[in-house]
Symmetry: C2
Subunit: 747 residues, 2 copies
């Protein structure tokens, strides 16, 4: 790719971004779009006043200011710990790439440019002169590259350490912050053994009252998904039958709720005389039991202990783990038989590999577009195209756009894979999808673009070089792909951010619904933040930044611009658009840590090999201690911090139990436990038909819908950044905002 192509791409993307940013600053002030741009606020039930004035139609940058001014506490209040962690990843990227940009622009870039390793025009484009490929073989200046690598690695590790430490602390504080979480007292049991004599319900009761008599309170069997909806309908019908019989109005009006939730035995208790219909429902329920149950314990420590020990001599039976939060439970998957899980996991693994292989086709197509000049020998009709004036658009802007479009398929598919794998909670499902997308991106965007690009180049020249091993190949090829990735950063990053901000799907859909179809209901429901796409994008850009930093430093300013805007845009979106339904308690950080370490080590290995190829063996060998130190640092972090993200400490649980017991709060919490996990109520939200990509969209509680009706909208701009402490109704408070948090300040 040549400089004109790059400039075309930059122009296109800057134009799109500036346009959309301006459009956003106008559209967000229109009352029609309040559901699109302020879903989070509506979910929290905050009201505002309307005031029609001229300012509503003038673009302004005030949202940027408000986004910048928000404190970490504000983010925490709106987006929970996961949002804070995500923004910490962005902040980490800004810091490390600011350092890298300064070092590389003033030290590495001039050295590359004056390196005299290649003449312009000879087998290389102007862009190549700015890469390490232009440094002469055996040049002493390679030591400067090596030094830069050392400085960047040291800074990255230091920053990573402090971030990890901070986030681990935050995660620990979550326990104190939400002391009444029912998940602390609840164990999810799977693989309940089947018996012809007794139901699953009875088995669970018998087992736990036998072995854990002192700590066991009660349990709640899980019913087959789908069955729940049907049962509720049956109950409603029955209620109608019973209420039409005169003098028999013994049921409370909301029988479908009161009859099914709660009580210890979990059988279908109808408040009224024992009729045939009741017994019938009882039998029906028994048939629809799954081999999974939620078991409630008297204290956090008891639940912790049960979740950590193997219960039975057959490790496929009575499998325990701490339960997810009530709104986090993914009820469908609880019914998947535990002994089939491994087959599902393997099938998903195979399917992922097949999909990755198939995805080589679009990647190769994209690289074919970039290197269209090289394909002219093989496909002569391309010669016409390459003479046209729009060639810069085709080689510069189009490839990364096509790739970005193809990549939109990936996150929903990986989400589907994670669902099939049998995740029991929405948060683990999203995190598992995040891991899958990340691996996919690293492999299919990064490696396969580099490899397929070089394959096309070689085919174009019709010279087959002797195959070398992968690492050597990478060292040779990475600098050549720098310009493609620059355009990718602009298209996927810059324009991606402006799309994120503008929410075009919601915007147009909402407009169609409201203005064209004139419908009453809303098109847009508040959605949860899609960490699995955004975390991976930031980490992929991190990988690009690290691996290109000393090889082709021109990419760094583009990245830095992306990260800075990402910081502002995501803060804005988290505070205004996205709704928090569940949290992973910061477990995206270990993922980010590992990805960064991987990027660092890859950078070091590639740089070491390149130094070797440039005949600077001393610089090459001096990267070896750096690689070893980075690996050691990773092992250290794994030992020091990772266990905190996997298990809870007994000491903490015991102390909290004691505190609550002394204050008498324990009894209260324990009494409310059995009603916390009400499958019938919680499943009710999930039974509406959902589109695959909008599966995340969840109806918020009705309270917030009510509050919207008397919504008075002012100049949204003037209020949107302020912390409106309007008393949220208890039902509409997001799950992380529980009464009386013990620790309030976070640094």
């Amino acid at each position: 790719m040549d400089i004109p192509a790059l400039l075309t791409s930059a122009g296109m993307n800057i134009g799109i971004s500036v346009g959309m940013f301006s459009l956003y600053s106008i559209l967000r002030k229109q009352p029609l779009n309040v559901r699109v741009y302020f879903g989070q606020r509506i979910a929290q039930g905050r009201t505002r006043n309307e005031n029609l004035c001229f300012e509503r139609f003038v673009p302004s940058a005030s949202w940027i200011l408000k986004s910048w001014e928000a404190t970490e506490e504000d983010i925490f209040a709106c987006g929970g710990i996961d949002a804070v962690v995500f923004l910490r990843i962005v902040v980490f990227s800004i810091r490390i790439f600011a350092i890298a940009t300064i070092l590389c622009t003033f030290l590495v870039l001039p050295l590359n440019y004056f390196g005299q390793g290649m003449q312009q025009g000879e087998d290389s484009t102007a862009m190549d002169l700015l890469t390490i490929g232009n440094v002469r073989e055996g040049s002493r200046w390679l030591w400067a590259h090596c030094l830069t690598l050392y400085v960047i690695s040291a800074c990255a590790c230091t920053l990573l350490y402090f971030e990890y430490k901070n986030i681990a602390r935050m995660r620990m504080e979550q326990v104190h912050r939400f002391p009444t979480r029912p998940s602390n007292f609840t164990v999810l049991v799977r693989g309940i053994p089947w018996s012809s004599v007794e139901s699953y319900n009875e088995s669970v009761g018998k087992f736990f009252s036998n072995y854990y008599a002192s700590s066991y309170i009660s349990h709640q069997i899980v019913y087959r998904f789908g069955a729940v909806q049907q049962l509720m309908e049956d109950a409603e019908k029955m209620y109608k039958v019973m209420t039409t019989v005169p003098g028999k109005q013994c049921c409370e009006p909301n029988v479908n709720r009161c009859g099914l939730c709660g009580a210890r035995s979990n059988s279908f208790k109808i408040v009224g005389p024992e009729s045939g219909a009741t017994r019938n429902v009882d039998d029906q329920l028994r048939e629809k039991e799954c081999e999974a149950a939620l078991v409630f314990f008297r204290s956090r420590y008891d639940a912790l202990v049960v979740s950590h020990t193997i219960q039975s001599a057959d490790p496929m039976l009575w499998v325990t783990q701490l339960a997810p939060e009530p709104r986090d439970v993914f009820w469908q998957n609880l019914c998947v038989p535990y002994n089939l899980l491994w087959i599902r996991k393997i099938s998903v693994f195979i399917a992922s590999i097949v999909f990755s292989v198939l995805f080589l086709l679009p990647t190769t197509f994209v690289q074919g577009l970039t290197k269209i000049q090289h394909l002219q020998n093989a496909f002569p009709f391309l010669r016409q195209v390459s003479d046209r004036s729009y060639i810069n658009l085709i080689t510069g802007y189009l490839p990364s756009l096509v790739l970005t479009v193809f990549l939109t398929v990936v996150p929903p598919l990986m989400m589907l894979f994670s669902t099939l794998e049998g995740a029991v909670s929405r948060s683990t499902r999203k995190r598992s999808a995040c891991v899958k997308v990340l691996i996919f991106m690293f492999w299919n965007v990064y490696f396969s673009n580099i490899l397929s690009g070089s394959w096309i180049e070689r085919m174009g020249k019709l010279t087959v070089t002797s195959p070398k091993d992968l690492a050597t190949l990478l060292a040779e090829l990475i600098p050549r792909q720098a310009s493609f990735f620059m355009t990718y950063v602009m298209t996927s990053g810059w324009s991606g951010l402006s799309f994120e901000l503008l929410q075009p799907v919601g915007l147009i859909g909402n407009w169609l619904f409201k203005c064209v179809l004139m419908k009453e209901e809303d098109f847009v429901r508040p959605v949860t933040f899609s960490y699995h796409t955004e975390v991976t994008r930031v980490l992929l850009f991190g990988l690009l930044g690290f691996t290109f930093c000393i090889l082709a430093p021109l990419i760094l300013p583009f990245l830095l611009v992306y990260f800075c805007f990402a910081f502002l845009v995501y803060r804005n979106q988290i505070m205004n658009v996205y709704f928090v339904k569940y949290q992973t308690d910061g477990s995206y950080w270990p993922l980010a840590h590992n990805a960064t370490i991987f990027s660092l080590i890859l950078t070091q290995v590639v740089a070491g090999i390149l130094f070797g190829m440039k005949k600077s063996s001393s610089a090459s060998t001096s990267t070896i201690p750096l690689i070893i130190c980075t690996a050691l640092f990773n092992v250290f972090c794994k030992n020091r911090f990772l266990p905190l993200f996997k298990n809870r400490a007994a000491q903490v649980a015991i102390e909290m139990d004691r505190d609550d017991e002394r204050s008498g709060k324990l009894q209260e919490i324990v009494e409310e436990l059995p009603s916390a996990y009400n499958q019938f109520e919680l499943c009710g939200d999930q039974t509406q038909p959902q589109e695959e990509e909008e599966e995340e969209e969840e109806k918020t509680k009705k309270g917030s819908d009510e509050s919207l009706k008397d919504l008075e909208i002012v100049n949204a701009d003037s209020l949107s950044g302020e912390q409106e402490q309007a008393p949220a109704s208890p039902t509409s408070a997001p799950p992380h905002l529980e009464p009386e948090p013990k620790i309030v300040s976070i640094k």
Copy 2:
């Protein structure tokens, strides 16, 4: 290698084996060698009568008969569960290779021989005609090879499944068999936080009586190794001082025992008036405390729970695990600070890699000997050698002998590595050494011999073929190395077994000590069975068997002979020679299972590639489902059985606790706990200077030494196979023979 060379090797090895087997059958009947050949019996304190007669000097095969007749219960009684598991590995090998030998000799071998793929003399030796290399390209007979592969894989998986199931059951029964094991009630705590205010001893007491008040009994701090010996000497000195002062004889004679062991506070209590000396010793002890302790609990369940939970918010502090058995504890390593362990592990990992790379030198030398004809071009002086009559000895017998000699260095070195890694028990140390030796053997004996052999061949021919990937290379090379591995099986296997039987080091040492140096003490002490060498040898031969079975089936009869003799010899040795000090409760089996699965999958992959190279693409693709099924089977076993080898089930622990509580036995067990782990007594055995290779030799309790003095020796032959139920003195019983085993019969 040619057929004469192979025959020379076979002749040498058969001669050596027959000679040594006969010699053994005579030597074992001599009273002088009773300590060499019946260490296990002596350790158990069984007596026998002597009767000098002519039969003592006639070779006989009666030991084979006795070894054959012994039941699994006998093996269990003498060698514990590990010995049983080891013999199950051998039995599994016999079974699967009997099937493979029959199939391959009657189906694959004739097909290979009449395959007409190569002419004799053309670039190949006579041995090559028997390999798959001789099958024509595109031949339909390759389907027979594929079918054989399917049958062998299916049989192997079936056998593996049943063995795993049986051994998992046996392991479960161990808990019931030895209900009074102190390790069930004891937790090893490491990483006790340092405090300037209180000693480690006080910290542990405070922590556990705070958080586990209801279940905690007492604890015992671990003292620095080396310090123990010194303290005992000090105590003895002090005792002398006190006894020489008239009228102050208040200490019991064995003060060094009574003063240090036991009581709750673990301080140095001297029965007598508080003197300055006493306080001095108390301070000394405090200085010598390690950051590790053994904590005793009231029930098995309590100990299990504490060992499974993370105690502190800092995962490097208060790290708990179930304690090893008292005689299994490796006291030196308990004092290694927990937060340094990961550095030690990484250092050992790097050292292992360096050692593996260095070991390429002897391997290449060995392969150079085998392919001496190919080196003639490069080194002309070798031409003289290859014309001599002893060339068959050099190419046939010498290489595997040299390799076997070099390999004797590996097990002690790996044991040293495992010690440095910080294993806290002797059993885990040996198991970890076993894993290391296994990986080393698979890589350095198998892969590097195959690769270096081919490297030498190519250098000899001076033709450089284009590099292919490793798997293709292996597929091409494995059949060519068959004859070398046949000689290796004979030298390392057959002759190795006869050396194992004869115990030449012990024999000659004992003879020198008793007859030349006329010393009173014994040269030979009963040693524990070196699973880390023998298990790996059997598994390496398994790897050879699987990978060569359809490629070069001639190796199978040699292997089958080895396995059959191994079965007899090891049974004999386990019943007569080796002493049981500690057990891993069968955890060598998962290792054997994984190694076998690895061998199977490698075989399938190599066969698939070879079928592809022979242009039989249908046979090649039909191996893919086989590979997938084998991998799935492995995952299934990992899910189904492996957790049982890693954790204990809460249900079992609770039920045993209840049974013991009902019968009142729990109180007894609990009372004896604090005295079970007496570091001063147990370390006493370990403080004698030990040679590296004889580190495993352990002094048995004095009781057995006493019993030896009035040993009356008969014709050992007539008794050695019978189950002598002589009442063993309590002190001399091996640790696995505890009173009142609950389950006695094993199938």
